[in-house]
Structure formats: C-alpha cells, structure tokens
C-alpha cells in the first residue's frame, strides 16, 4: 500500500519542490536590481567580513553578511543568479541542440554517419572536461560568451551519447517498421516515431545539463577564468570564501548552499518532468 503511494506521489513532490526553488531563483535573477539590498560591487572596508544577521556584530541591511572587501553577500548571490541562469539556459540549449541532432542521426541512421559521429564523441570523451573548459576559456578570452561556448562545445557529447543509444533502441521497435509499411520515409520516421520517444530523455538531460552548466561556470570563476574578476559570480564568491574559510565561513556556506540546491533542483526537475510525461506512468 505505502509502496504504491510513495511511487505515484514522489515525482510530483520533487517536481514542485525543485520547480519552486528554481522559479524563486529565476525571479530573483530577473528582478535583481530591484530586490538586491546593496550594490553587489560596492566595497566598503568599514564593513568587511560582517557576519549574517543572527550573529553578534551583524549590520542591518547586510542580511547574509559581507566578504573580505565589505561587499554584501546576499546582493552578490542575487546578481550571481543572473549570470548562472544566462549561462545555464544558453549553454545547455546549445549543447542540447547540437548533441541531440547528431545523436538522433547516429542512432537512427547508423552506418557511416554513426561511425564518424561516434569517433568524434570518443575523442571528446578522452579530454578531461574541466581542463578542456578552462583551456577553451583561456583561448577564447574571459567573458560570458566564452563561458557559454566552452560549455556547449564540451557537453554536447552527453546528449549525443544518450540520444544515440535511445534512438537505436527505438529504431528497432516494430512501430518503426509499421511506419515504413505506412509509406513514411527515413526522415519522416526519425522525426515522427523516434524523436517523440526520445524527447522525454532529452528534456531530462537538458534540465540536468543546466545544473552542470551552473557548476562549470562556478568552477571557471573559481579558477578566476569566467567573466571578469570582480563580477558577482557564485564561483567567484566561493573562491573568495575558500580563502577566508577560517575567518568568515559564511562567505563559503551561503553560495555553496545556493549552488547545492540549484544543481539538485535542476536534476530533480528534469527527472520529475520525464516521469510526468511518460505515458505509461501517467
């Protein structure tokens, strides 16, 4: 009894929780200039390393405290969400379009197309992804565009591999033969019969990839290679927090918690969507 109830309700709960957090964050990102209590770039050495509001020595207006340059942590997190979301949407979408298309072609058509695409994927998989990303940004020069391009260039293989494998399974189904019997051409079958069945996985991956893009962006800014040095990125705040970990733990904890929840939400949101749109479970 319990078992069944758990299974049918859990996907919805996680979908709502994850979706809720992401919407909140998205709203904060869009409305950043209106809701951020302080200027995220304003330095004030008078207010350096203020603790969060519930602790001794906190200042009103600096809810989550300040960093070693006296910059307001909450405001930096809110503005950081902007960068995170831009990177997440742009990079994940680009990687998804490129990777899914190639994966669909490789998986459904097979033959030479598959062999060439798979070989390229093999080469790509032989790069350590983080190092590849750092290298690309170093080459392209720091900036939002470089970060987005670097993530897309590296992570299209994730979509390609999954979509290829699923398209291969789908293309062996009887309904694909059924469509041939009905007189559909190869392209028509790929788009009509195969793609809709692969789509839920693509959607789940897209959401997962957004979380990964957020992380990669954080890693890049952690090694100081993302946007610009003082731009309020989550990774930048974390790098700052890592240095002053013994003096001001909150500078590390708050961006960490934000990042943690965001990444978890993206992956759970994707899985939740996939389950929800699975016609067999619905």
């Amino acid at each position: 009894m319990d078992d069944v109830r758990l299974r049918s309700r859990a996907p919805n709960a996680r979908l709502w929780l994850a979706g809720g957090w992401l919407s909140l964050l998205l709203a904060a990102a869009i409305l950043a200039p209106l809701i951020a209590p302080q200027d995220p770039l304003a330095q004030d050495l008078m207010f350096e390393r203020l603790p969060p509001f519930w602790m001794q020595g906190s200042e009103p207006g600096f809810w989550l405290g300040t960093d070693s340059l006296g910059r307001d942590l909450l405001s930096r997190l809110i503005f950081g969400a902007r960068i995170a979301f831009i990177v997440a949407f742009a990079a994940a979408t680009a990687a998804c379009l490129a990777g899914s298309t190639l994966g669909l072609v490789a998986g459904y058509f097979g033959g030479w197309a598959d062999r060439i695409i798979s070989r390229i994927v093999d080469v790509w998989m032989a790069f350590p992804p983080v190092l590849f990303a750092i290298l690309l940004v170093a080459v392209l020069g720091t900036g939002l565009h470089s970060v987005i391009i670097a993530i897309a260039v590296i992570d299209w293989t994730r979509f390609c591999r999954v979509v290829r494998a699923e398209a291969m399974v789908q293309s062996r189904m009887d309904y694909v033969e059924n469509a041939r019997i009905a007189g559909f051409g190869r392209m028509g079958i790929m788009l009509r019969e195969v793609l809709p069945n692969v789509l839920p996985s693509i959607v789940a991956l897209l959401s997962l990839e957004m979380g990964i893009a957020v992380i990669v962006e954080a890693i890049l800014s952690f090694v100081n290679l993302s946007i610009s040095t003082d731009a309020p990125t989550w990774g930048g705040i974390i790098a700052e927090g890592r240095l002053s970990i013994h003096q001001a733990w909150w500078v590390l904890v708050f961006p960490l918690v934000t990042l943690f929840l965001t990444v978890l939400s993206f992956s759970q949101f994707g899985e939740g969507l996939k389950d929800r749109y699975d016609p067999v479970l619905r």
Binding site: M1, D2, D3, V4
Partner: protein, 294 residues
C-alpha cells in the same frame, strides 16, 4: 487414495499492495506421485500458486490467509530458515524459460550439483555420479561434455533437459513445473513432456504442472484445477474434465482451443455471458471475504 497428500493448500489468499487479491481462497490437494495441472489464462494466478508453495513470490505479493502443508508440515509455521531447508530438500522447480533459468556465467555441472553438495551435504563424487546418471536418463548423449559447458553452448531443448535432470536430482517429493514447454517448439515440447512423464512415473514424484494449454493438460495430468482471476472454478480428474466439463468457463475454454481435427467446432470466441457470470462469481467471492489479519 488414503495416503496423506503430498501438498495441501487450503483457503490461500494473496494480495497486491493495492489490496486487490491475486489469489482468492485457493484450495487444492495433490496426492503423492500425482500430476496436478493448473490451467488458466494470463492473470489467472496459476504461476502464483506454484511460487507461493516454493516461497518465491514477488515481493509485492503478500499471502494474507490460508495454509500450505507440504507432506503434513505446515509451511507457515516454520522459521524462514527451516522453511528454506525443507523446500530445498523436498521440492524442485522446472522453470518456464530455459534461456534465463541457467546462470550464464557458470558451468552446467556446478549449477546442477550445488544443491546436492551445498544444501544437502552430499559428497562431490556422489553428487557427480548422480548427475551423470540423471543426464543419461534425460537422454543427453555426452554428459561428461555437457557438465563442462556454459549455458549458451546448449540449445533450448538441451537446456530444458538439463533443468529437468537438476529438478529430479535430489529425489524431491514435489516438483513445480511452471509452463516448462511454453518457450519450446512443438516437436521439442512433445519430447520434453514425455521425458517429464517418464521420470515422474519412475521416481514417483508429485508434480504441480502450471500451463495455459488444455492440450498439454490432457496429455500429462491426472487431475486439473481450472483457474480464473485467482479462483479455482473447477477441479476434476483429467479424464472426467475432458469428458464432461462442468463449469461454463471450462467449456468455453475448450471450445476456444484450436483443434486441427475439428477446425470449425474449435476456436470459438468466449461468450459474453460466460465472462459476465465469472465477474459475478469474483464479486461474490470478494464480498464474502474478510482478511483474517487485516
């Protein structure tokens, strides 16, 4: 037949997590050395009964009521460990699909001797000579070669022979044969049925024979229970059942089963009234039923 039954099931009910019953107060008795067929369509619960006896029900299915007595021993009263030991010593299973019934990564020999050695404590040489003899009995020509093979090196019919040999190895009192010929071609099916019948007679083993095929029932069993929705709708001696089926559902099943000797009197669709009657019986049974421990 005054001998104590080999297996006695009384009032057995099992439910899914949703509370729906998959077995509805099933009762049946199998005398020693008797082949008792359970026949029914998909969802009739015929495999469930065999699995319940052997204690290998899927985790989602729960027995909520009833007793099972194996040679007089109440299975429900035993500790899991004692029960496992008893099942291991007195029963065996011939599964449906010879493809998935052998572990692909282990050689045939150890797979059929491990029960004898590990569970029954036989010596390796005794177990081996026993298996040799049984492989011979199931007409496997080179037993020495076959025990060294991996399952994928044997054909489907060969694998089923190996499984039958393994089932008879420890002289069980009861064998559950779960659709043992469904995955086979007809010509192989006939050979395997004959083999099971011969060994069963020689060893005096009782068999609970699960099948969906009334043709197989007619050839192999002495008794039949016809099942529908986890309910025994008719139980009879096999000869009696085929001579004069009592329940309308049994009659409908017989009329639906194709017969090449009489093509136009067979393959008749089941009448809607029969199905409506069955639905009524199921509802009636559920209305009267209260689980003992709710």
């Amino acid at each position: 037949m005054s001998a104590a039954p080999c297996l006695e099931i009384s009032n057995l009910s099992a439910t899914l997590p949703s509370g729906m019953r998959v077995l509805r107060s099933v009762s049946l008795k199998i005398a020693p050395g008797e082949v008792h067929a359970l026949v029914g369509e998909s969802g009739a619960g015929k495999s469930m009964i065999g699995k319940a006896v052997l204690g290998v029900l899927p985790t989602s299915v729960r027995i909520v009521e009833g007793d099972m007595l194996l040679e007089g021993t109440r299975l429900g009263a035993l500790s899991p460990k004692a029960r496992r030991a008893l099942i291991g010593a007195r029963t065996a299973l011939i599964p449906q699909d010879p493809l998935t019934a052998l572990n692909p990564s282990r050689r045939i020999g150890p797979q059929i001797t491990d029960r004898l050695i590990r569970i029954l404590g036989w010596s390796a040489s005794k177990a081996e000579s026993r298996i040799r003899r049984l492989l011979d009995e199931v007409q496997i020509r080179e037993p020495g070669r076959v025990v060294g093979c991996y399952p994928h090196e044997l054909s489907g019919g060969m694998r089923q022979r190996v499984l039958i040999a393994a089932a008879f190895a420890a002289e069980p009192r009861l064998i559950v044969a779960d659709e043992p010929t469904t995955a086979l071609d007809v010509t192989v099916q006939k050979q395997i049925l004959r083999l099971i019948a011969d060994l069963q007679r020689e060893h005096g083993t009782a068999i609970l024979f699960v099948t969906h095929d009334l043709g197989v029932v007619a050839k192999i069993s002495q008794k039949v229970s016809v099942l529908y929705a986890g309910m025994v709708v008719e139980e009879a001696d096999t000869t009696a059942l085929f001579a004069a089926p009592q329940h309308p559902y049994t009659r409908a099943l017989m009329a639906a089963t194709p017969r090449y000797t009489d093509p136009y009197a067979s393959l008749l669709p089941v009448d809607a009234a029969v199905l409506a009657g069955l639905a009524g019986e199921v509802a009636e049974a559920d209305r009267a039923w209260r689980p003992v421990h709710a």
